[in-house]
């Protein structure tokens, strides 16, 4: 699986991109390795997980190589090409199309997962949102960064399960406690206090709160729109020849600004996957136009806010200052964020599959 290691690509004088073909192979491999070591699974065990795509792919590869069976519950984000690859690796794929009243598609996927778990006696649920081995998997990545770059001053990346950012940042901060950590989220994701609503930008953000997201890791949080992230992804392709998915574009637009604003800091940004899955969406102008996602230029800087609900409708940022969610939003915040989704979905705003 060495071919899935990140490539460190210098983009600016003080900005390095960690370009992963498929970052999720790190948590997939590590979660299964630890489960095997703990005796929770053995050869031919049934592994189950809910994933919109990349974790599924990572698990499918590892399960195929190590001889586990795999069931994935996914949604419309699992396109036919991805599905074919998963099935080629022996994965059973279940697609959920109706969002749950609270928690959207993520919750609907988890409900279906529970049904499968009730049917299958012997199985093991990876649970990437809560399994500490997800963030724990990034030890070798942190080692790669330190070995190649030495001191890193700032880490920028998108947040979905919290795994890569919280894991990498925690390992790095043991060595460099002053490391700045900048998380990139999207509008309509509850992770940093936005109200839940359907999102066109996938692979970051969430409708539920993963235990693996430790809010106190983050110094700064950005929210970007799907249109901005998609344009950034296209610009990244044209300007650097890096062919990546939209989360990379989102990370890049934030990281390059941060690097410009902090010329003496060494910045690393994480690019979690390559672009092949997005050829018919992000890389397709007619798709962008017909979905009202076409944008001509990127904002030069984010709107700076001090309350997540004041963010938007364009790229916005907030000093999170390593606070807990409750410290920023209040202890009722999590409930309110998720409750909102019920109303949104009731008004028929759910995404089409």
């Amino acid at each position: 699986m060495g071919c899935y290691q990140a490539q460190l690509v210098p983009l600016e004088q003080n900005l390095v991109a960690a370009v992963f073909p498929l970052m999720k192979i790190y948590p997939a491999e590590f979660c299964l390795r630890q489960a095997r070591e703990a005796g929770w699974i053995e050869s031919q065990s049934l592994i189950v997980e809910s994933s919109s795509g990349n974790m599924a792919m990572g698990l499918a590869i590892v399960c195929s190589l190590r001889g586990y069976r795999l069931v994935i519950v996914s949604d419309y984000a699992c396109d036919p090409m991805l599905r074919r690859r998963l099935e080629d690796l022996g994965t059973r794929v279940e697609i959920v199309s109706i969002p749950a009243a609270t928690g959207g598609l993520q919750c609907a996927r988890l409900t279906r997962l529970e049904e499968i778990r009730a049917q299958e006696k012997d199985h093991w649920w990876v649970n990437q949102y809560d399994n500490p081995c997800n963030p724990g998997a990034y030890g070798s990545f942190a080692a790669q960064l330190v070995g190649s770059l030495g001191r890193v001053d700032c880490l920028v990346g998108t947040v979905g399960s919290g795994g890569s950012m919280c894991g990498t940042a925690t390992y790095l901060r043991n060595l460099y406690p002053e490391l700045k950590v900048v998380g990139v989220d999207t509008f309509g994701s509850v992770l940093f206090g936005q109200l839940d609503r359907p999102r066109k930008l996938r692979g970051l953000g969430n409708s539920i709160f993963p235990k693996n997201l430790d809010h106190t890791v983050f110094d700064e949080v950005h929210w970007v729109t799907a249109a901005e992230a998609f344009l950034a992804t296209r610009l990244l392709h044209r300007k650097t020849a890096l062919f990546c998915g939209p989360t990379s574009g989102a990370a890049w637009m934030v990281a390059s600004l941060w690097a410009r604003q902090h010329a003496s800091s060494k910045v690393v940004c994480i690019f979690p996957d390559d672009g092949y899955r997005y050829v018919d969406t992000v890389y397709d102008d007619s798709y962008l136009a017909s979905n009202d996602l076409y944008l001509q230029t990127l904002p030069t800087a984010p709107l700076e806010v001090d309350d997540p609900l004041a963010a938007g409708p364009v790229w916005s940022s907030m000093q999170w200052s390593r606070r807990s969610f409750d410290d920023v939003i209040g202890s009722q915040g999590k409930q309110i964020s998720q409750q909102f989704s019920k109303e949104t979905y009731d008004h028929g705003l759910a995404p089409s599959s």
Binding site: G136, G139, A142, A143, Q144, G150, Y171, L172, L175
Partner: protein
């Protein structure tokens, strides 16, 4: 004191050939073996820069360490072989030295040789100076000299680990990531450590740590994953002479070790170390000593070191060993 001054002239190294004592009349064996007295000296260490556990490429768990060598500490072993008879050691509690001599004789196919082993030196035991490793390294080499054989550093490492189960790694004339319970080199880290100026102290003057009486640290999986970063860090720090990184790695390793073998006044000493502009601290992971690591190119080095002596004195520590790598 000769050894002490001699040691200072060595900037990097681990051991050297002391004068090979021409000794008593040589004893000739029927196999043409010429026996002579062998005398060797080994330096020791002042704790470790890094100690932990990683998983290798095959996901096997490997414990490792990187010593902080200290040329001011040494052990000298003289071996006077005799045909037949037993192996005796002076002082008599140096059992590991006796064991390594036995193993080395076996290694050279001379299991029935006896003799007198004399261990001298200036290393206090149970502090993390690696006294028993120094005894064993000097012992193995003294035997090799005595029987006219030679040993590679790797062979010495194997013999020493076999004699004492867990050993330090200053038998190498280069920097290695050493699997101290296997005697194996896990990674080559470079030809020598970058130059560091060190103030060494004993955090617990009355305390004694006998390595084998303590169970090896049981690192959790997070720590084992994190050690990859420390290993990458120490590799890079040595390659690029990045003292700041080397200091951070050592400090981080020391902090992890607090959970297993806490040093008294650790946080006070860390704060003190920060105030006098050290690059970090290193501890003995199986002992009581702590090292404050200074960048020798710092123009304020002497001022900071003077301040450190004063600050240490206010903590009640007046026995300071100054050395450099």
């Amino acid at each position: 004191m000769d050894n002490l001054s001699a040691s200072r002239s060595f900037s990097q190294f681990t051991l050297w050939r002391a004068q090979q004592v021409p000794a008593a009349p040589c004893v000739a064996l029927d196999t043409d073996l010429i026996l002579a007295t062998g005398t060797r000296t080994s330096i020791a260490q002042h704790g470790e820069l890094l100690q932990g556990q990683i998983q290798d490429h095959e996901h096997r768990y490997r414990r490792f360490l990187v010593s902080l060598p200290c040329a001011r500490l040494y052990s000298t072993v003289t071996f006077v072989p005799s045909l037949g008879g037993s192996l005796t050691v002076e002082p008599s509690h140096k059992i590991k030295a006796q064991r390594v001599v036995r193993l080395t004789l076996e290694r050279f196919g001379l299991p029935h040789l006896g003799g007198l082993i004399t261990v001298t030196g200036n290393i206090t035991e149970g502090k993390g100076y690696g006294s028993s490793t120094a005894d064993c390294v000097a012992g193995a080499l003294a035997v090799a000299d005595a029987v006219g054989g030679s040993l590679t550093e790797e062979e010495v490492a194997q013999l020493v680990v076999a004699a004492e189960i867990a050993s330090d790694n200053f038998m190498f004339n280069r920097v290695v990531l050493f699997a101290h319970r296997e005697g194996a080199v896990l990674a080559e880290l470079g030809s020598r450590l970058p130059k560091l100026e060190v103030l060494g102290i004993d955090t617990d003057v009355t305390g004694v740590v006998r390595t084998l009486e303590y169970p090896p640290a049981t690192y959790d999986w997070r720590q084992i994953q994190y050690f990859q970063t420390l290993v990458a860090g120490v590799e890079r720090a040595i390659r690029y002479r990045d003292l700041a990184l080397l200091g951070r790695v050592a400090t981080s390793s020391a902090i992890i070790n607090q959970r297993f073998l806490p040093k008294p006044m650790f946080s006070e000493l860390c704060r003190l170390a920060e105030c006098v502009n050290t690059v970090g601290v290193a501890v003995a992971h199986s002992g009581t000593v702590l090292s404050m690591l200074f960048d020798p190119s710092d123009p304020r080095l002497e001022i900071n070191i003077r301040q450190a002596y004063l600050d240490l004195e206010t903590l009640g520590i007046d026995n300071v060993l100054r050395f450099h790598t």
